[in-house]
Amino acid sequence: MPDAVTTPAATTPTVTAPTPNQMQKQIIKNKAVVGDDWTVLRLAEGESADGVAIPVGKVIVPLTVWQAQAAALQLRAAAGELGVWFASDERPEALTGEVAKFAVIAVDFPKFSDGRGYSIAYNLRARLGYTGELRAIGDVLRDQMFYMQRVGFDAFEPRADRNIHDALKGLSDFSEQYQTSWDQKSPLFRRVQRTGVAQ
């Protein structure tokens, strides 16, 4: 299956004119559709991590931008107005000891079938101890969101051409699971009394 998609789907403009109450961008957070005032900064062709200008307001910058401009961005981070996003080939350990600085950390799915983001999210939660908002961005679709939720995502920016209320339904596909992940620290066999052979 071709995995090469250069334009992140999240930046695809919607074709329908927004109605007034859709003017504000919406995301799914804590299993509800809510308004969102964060902007995701993506480097355009020719822009560099150390040279790109950071727009005003709440911005989620690429990890490389944070690494290049950390000194200048410290104050905005301290004010709760800075987030960082990981590309799927970047390592969560890059933020070891720093995750608490960010109001939001996002993980980009360049293609919905790229599964690296699941391990990045799990590691951010389980290994780096990140407790803030963990957001899935990029090619985020309803049918992957249940698994995303399990590995530690609590916020989702579904692809702009999809109905966000439909996407929300993806979070309740299953009511039970066998194995542990971030959401469920104990496997089924430890949590419940399972039936054995009838004597």
Partner: protein
């Protein structure tokens, strides 16, 4: 065998509801085909050349007669009256309508079956020894561990979009009948010096374009740590496996690239964080699951049955069948019967609905209502009383299931190939049939003895050609179908990858090619030597010389049209 509890039923039910809605959204175009693709694959549904194919999981190859009858029902109701047993111990149906798949899955759930993760870039059905629990050489029954891993891997949230498919096999006997060396993870259940149970962990085996045998990355892993250790392997692979080229995406390529030692170091480091976490298996859970795999209520019988000896003396055909298709059982007076799905003229692994029902019946009447599927695409009745063997043989024979060819040259492993599969470069079933016809003479087959002949219609190697004593690979050359031949491959304890003997052949040349290879063996073998031993002793040179010595007559039609 394992039985679902309320949780297994609940999870299966919720899965079907999820999938039914995905199919609905696909049909009304809410989902694009590209988006639907991995969803249907993880429910076992492939798009093939003519129709959808549904692959149903047979966990570690074990079935009840009731489940078997459901296959017959599906074959009649939703397919064309037959099914195909696969090299991964599963069954697949080739003529399925997308719209009907949710209903089929619902029928399957009613007999505690599913098609979860039988395809897609996820952890696939766990395979194991087809003689588990009854083999004379068994050390530890691997099935409880296989079932525990089935549950652990089902809908694992982090490992559903891996770089590529991921196959785990478990063996618990002296002889490896699960081909663990050609799996992404191959586990062997063993005892350590103190008698504790654990696993020897092998990683990075596989076939396909780059056949590689697995490397042992841990000699002994105590059983409690099975899931946390596999989780560590999976997490390393999910992060570092290549995703830029599907032919380089299997874990074997990662192992090759960084070396087994470095890979092991990464896994062990990852595992440090997971070891002794709540995913650690408990004695209670192991005992609960193992309780489903306790021995049947066997009768106390003499080790040798007198009536059996009498039949042997009188009936050569029966004796041939005993010699090839009946294996020793660990309980005195019992035997393991392999029902051959390799009758000449039938596609290897195919069974009609009538045969499927019949085997379910046989299992009920003679074998505690259970049966198994082998990775060599045959069926097994694991618990037959020796005194019943003659009756079972007569009945099986009447249904075309008693060809005495298990382990012989006509017991061919063969993928569906170009007749069905959209990935195939060439047909494989007609080649298997032509070779089987050429070697139809039973005395000749028995003289040739142990021989694994495996055929794949493309480089994905579903027909395991790399590990065939004789391997046949279909290739495409300028739009025609050609066949590349290798010899010296083997599965099991002495696994090896076969070597290609030279330029490829047309379809109609293939029976003669195999004949010439066999002739070299018959000429040069020394007393008691199997074909594989001779190829190891002599190398490929004498075989190559004989095959290419004189031109082989090829029919005027080549490849695509040869068997039209």
């Amino acid at each position: 065998m394992y039985q679902y509890d309320q949780y297994d039923h609940l999870i299966a039910k919720e899965r079907i509801a999820q999938y039914r809605d995905q199919v609905r959204r696909r049909l009304c175009n809410e989902l694009t085909e590209e988006e639907f693709l991995p969803l249907r694959l993880q429910n076992g549904l492939y798009m093939q050349r003519h129709a959808y194919m549904l692959r149903i999981a047979v966990p570690y190859g074990l079935l009840s007669s009731e489940q078997m009858r459901m296959f017959a029902y599906i074959a009649r109701t939703y397919d064309r009256g037959y099914g195909h047993f696969t090299t991964r111990q599963n069954i697949q149906f080739n003529w399925i309508d997308l719209e009907q798949t949710p209903d089929i899955l619902q029928h399957l759930a009613s007999v505690e079956m599913h098609a979860n993760q039988t395809s897609g870039n996820c952890i696939r059905n766990i395979t194991s020894d087809e003689f588990a629990g009854v083999a004379v050489d068994e050390i530890i029954d691997p099935r409880p561990y296989a079932e525990i891993l089935r549950q652990w891997s089902t809908f694992h949230p982090e490992f559903a979009y891996l770089p590529r498919k991921f196959k785990i096999a478990i063996n618990g006997a002296v002889e490896d009948r699960a081909a663990i060396a050609v799996h992404d993870i191959g586990l062997t259940v063993v005892h350590d010096a103190s008698g504790e149970v654990g696993f020897r962990v092998m990683v990075g085996g596989g076939m396909g374009r780059t056949p590689i045998l697995g490397s042992v990355i841990r000699e002994f892993l105590p059983w409690q740590h099975m899931m946390t250790y596999i989780e560590a392997i999976m997490r390393v692979y999910n992060q570092y496996g290549r995703r830029d080229n599907k032919y380089k995406a299997r874990i074997k390529i990662l192992l090759k690239a960084i070396g087994a030692e470095e890979f092991t170091r990464q896994v062990e480091q990852e595992w440090l964080d997971l070891k002794d976490s709540p995913s650690t298996l408990t004695v209670e859970e192991l005992n609960r699951v193992a309780g489903y795999f306790t021995p049947h209520a066997y009768e106390t019988l003499p080790a040798v049955d007198a009536s059996l000896e009498a039949h042997k003396a009188e009936n050569k055909a029966f004796t041939n069948w005993l010699k090839r298709n009946v294996k020793p059982h660990k309980v005195p007076g019992y035997a393991i019967v392999v029902l051959s799905l390799k009758k000449v003229g039938v596609a290897p692994g195919d069974a009609t609905a009538e045969q499927i029902d019949f085997v379910a019946d046989l299992a009920d009447r003679y074998s505690f209502g259970q049966l198994r599927v082998t990775h060599e695409q045959n069926l097994v009745l694991a618990d037959i009383k020796q005194s019943d063997l003659f009756a079972v043989w007569q009945e099986a024979k009447a249904h075309g299931l008693a060809t005495p060819n298990i382990g012989l040259i006509t017991d061919i492993i063969c993928c569906p190939g170009g007749d069905f599969c959209s990935l195939a470069n060439a047909k494989s079933i007609p080649i298997a049939q032509a070779i089987a016809e050429r070697f139809d003479d039973l005395d000749y087959q028995h003289d040739i003895g142990e021989m694994e002949l495996n055929i794949s219609g493309c480089i994905n190697a579903c027909g395991h050609h790399h590990v065939g004593n004789i391997g046949v690979l279909g290739v495409d050359k300028d739009g025609s179908e050609w066949y590349q031949v290798s010899i010296g491959g083997a599965q099991g304890n002495e696994s090896s990858v076969g070597k290609i003997i030279g330029p490829s052949f047309s379809a109609t040349q293939m029976p003669e090619v195999v004949e010439r290879i066999v002739q070299v063996y018959l000429r040069d073998r020394i007393e008691g030597e199997r074909f594989i031993d001779t190829t190891r002793r002599l190398g490929i040179a004498p075989f190559k010389d004989a095959v290419y010595a004189t031109p082989i007559k090829s029919e005027s039609l080549h490849g695509e049209d040869a068997y039209a």
